[in-house]
Symmetry: C2
Subunit: 422 residues, 2 copies
């Protein structure tokens, strides 16, 4: 089964918002064995929406339309759909009742515009929305399905997860597709491909390997398609185990687990707590850690020592060190680690100090020069980055290296390990 994703909204075409919905929807659909044939965005223009829907339905079995619903949009998608299918709009009492109840809870009274929004195309099946006013609408024609949903991510995700995907699973069983993903860090796509070359050649034809890279991490995703889901699961587990043996030292987790979350698991297993000391990454690394629910189990907190004062006052980096080596140096990040361990009373700390750019570089320390250290009272691992990827990407990359450094530290033996990585 194939799907086409259509987003309606001027705000997308003028670049006001970034379309995050499509990537999320594609991932969810893929997990159910539905492949995306293509995707497109169209403006809030009635004839363009109709044309785009028609095109999409010619390209795929399922069309998911987001956006163009609600009062501020004059319900343009709904009207285009009604015209496309040549149906009337009829008042949907249940939606009106839900809306009245929702307004009552907020202590407000719905107006005429709100009530008019409860008219739906006559051939729509209404899928209620628990997170907003506009329900999803399910349409079928000629063996094809079209679903219209609001564009607000929080609402779309609920509607997909709780209404649309379960219904697709029941109504349109597809050839089973199973995935297994190894999450790796510390080796690039090319290096991993070299290690896995023979393994890939030996894969049966119905199992494929995809390399999905990002910031010092690569996801290795196996996908198996066939007739019998149980058999596929057995087969893919075998291949996954083989693959894991080959690249074991780079594997930090499975199936889209973020590196920060995997680090959290290792910390919990050791009953250790972590603290951060950030300079040029300015909170980005800590935000990666705290983005995961449950991080309070292992993350004590951190010091953003953006100004050198905070490095000396709070992290107790020695003035002499700053003078002799500078803030961006191996010596300074080592002392930042010790300082964070003490200030935050954590078992392990990770520190970053560097020049994210675009300003601040020099001949000796050009933009992109970043030192990262992770350690405890007795041992430290250090990494030295030098490539300039632009300010934002320098920060993202350094945070990824920092997380991996913590991971490697947690996995290391008790031998005194002082290495320069990456």
């Amino acid at each position: 089964m194939t799907a086409y994703l259509l987003t309606v909204g001027d705000e997308i075409l003028i670049g006001q918002i970034t379309d995050t919905n499509s990537a999320w929807m594609a991932q969810q659909l893929n997990l159910q064995g539905i492949r995306i044939a293509g995707k497109a965005s169209v403006g809030d223009v009635h004839p363009n929406i109709i044309e785009a829907m028609d095109y999409a339905l010619s390209k795929a079995d399922l069309v998911l339309v987001t956006g163009g619903l609600g009062a501020t949009k004059d319900d343009i998608t709904k009207k285009a759909i009604a015209e496309y299918f040549g149906v009337e709009m009829i008042f949907h009492t249940e939606t009106w009742q839900r809306l009245q109840y929702f307004f009552k809870k907020l202590g407000k009274i719905p107006n005429e515009m709100n009530k008019n929004g409860c008219f739906m195309p006559a051939n729509a099946e209404i899928l209620p929305n628990d997170r907003g006013l506009a329900p999803a609408m399910w349409f079928e024609k000629g063996g094809k399905v079209m679903v219209s949903m609001p564009g607000v991510p929080y609402e779309m995700m609920h509607l997909m997860t709780d209404r649309v995907l379960p219904r697709l699973k029941n109504s349109f069983p597809v050839s089973p597709v199973v995935h297994r993903t190894l999450m790796t860090a510390g080796e690039g796509e090319t290096g991993l491909a070299a290690l896995l070359s023979d393994f890939e050649d030996a894969l049966p034809t119905h199992i494929k390997l995809a390399y999905l890279p990002a910031f010092n991490q690569v996801r290795l995703r196996l996908t198996a398609t066939g007739a019998d889901e149980a058999v596929l699961n057995q087969e893919i587990e075998v291949e996954k185990a083989k693959m894991e043996t080959i690249v074991a030292k780079f594997v930090y987790g499975y199936d889209d687990e973020p590196l920060a979350k995997a680090v959290g698991k290792l910390l919990v297993a050791k009953n250790w707590t972590l603290a951060t000391a950030e300079s040029c990454t300015g909170g980005y690394l800590s935000a990666q850690l705290t983005a995961n629910a449950g991080s309070s189990a292992y993350f004590k907190g951190g010091i953003i020592a953006y100004h050198n004062d905070l490095k000396t006052n709070i992290l107790k980096v020695k003035e002499a060190t700053l003078e002799a080596h500078g803030a961006v140096s191996e010596q300074t990040v080592r002392e930042m680690v010790q300082g964070a361990l003490n200030a935050c009373e954590a078992d392990i700390a990770v520190a970053i100090s560097g020049i994210a750019g675009p300003g601040g570089g020099s001949k000796e320390k050009p933009v992109g020069t970043i030192w990262v250290a992770a350690g405890n009272k007795t041992h430290t691992r250090v990494a030295h980055l030098t490539i300039d990827r632009g300010r934002n990407r320098n920060v993202e990359y350094a945070a990824s290296v920092a997380l991996n450094l913590v991971r490697l530290f947690l996995l290391a033996t008790e031998k005194d390990v002082i290495l320069r990585d990456a």
Copy 2:
């Protein structure tokens, strides 16, 4: 002049990456008066790429294609273009020379695959890429233009800014379009629309107002189209001034300046430094501040007191306060502000403590309960958030409220101001 954006790549259709390029390109093109007619994504499938290009060229005067270039992609876009135009591939010596030089700098030797990548469609004009191996290619046919670029954002942005946009400006002068944007915070779209209702009705027909909302902020963008750019600029300045008078208290900046950057300017004007004390936002607020180049002029740093230990040990929040009111309370965030002022030796500090979710809520303090405070030694402003928008959006919204609270504090008179906002 209209443009159609086409992205080539399986990685987009499987949801592996989020397409950030399109939004950026759309904004840049809009600034030059080029409207986006639509956009689409297609997979790494030769005939699909050809079909998509043909469709795009039927919809707009200019087609920008990103992705599908380079060795890992088997240069699929390039080959599709050559077939579409019915031309041969010829070896481009200058690209080969640049590539050899680039490899030499890295101490590497190009291989046969790299050399083969230097073949270009015979009708291409090559626009050199200073940030990567694949150049951009410019094609013209029947008065229309198609440009192919790599999908790597860092490279695409350089090619657009330094090669494509200047060339478009010269080759295809468009009806002048001018924009002015007021950046506002603290009032929603509906509230602003109510205030600006008469102003909008009175706007001349060739000047339009767009409301572009995000997280407690709304961009108010005026767009004027006409024949004479100088006249348009005069007219739009007049309307902008009128608009600003009406919504002055919400305006924090102009023309897409981030709120964090606007706050930075206010701090610099007062010669004040800022420190942060974050709990549930875990670094996100600080990262917003440090994302702006030059933030070291006003941002000292911060304490991420994720664990209550750090609230008491580093920020000196009283144990009695935590016991009586809890970590998520007005009293605690006020003490966090004072603690950050002292620990970081800053002139003003902002603190956030709350329950981002999904866990951690209670009947008295449900998920979404977040306290924010901004102040100095003598005065504090406080905000109390209650709506649950989901973990990530709770964090983003709290950070936005925090920045606005700092802004309002910096603009306030010396009267003792203790308000509850939002």
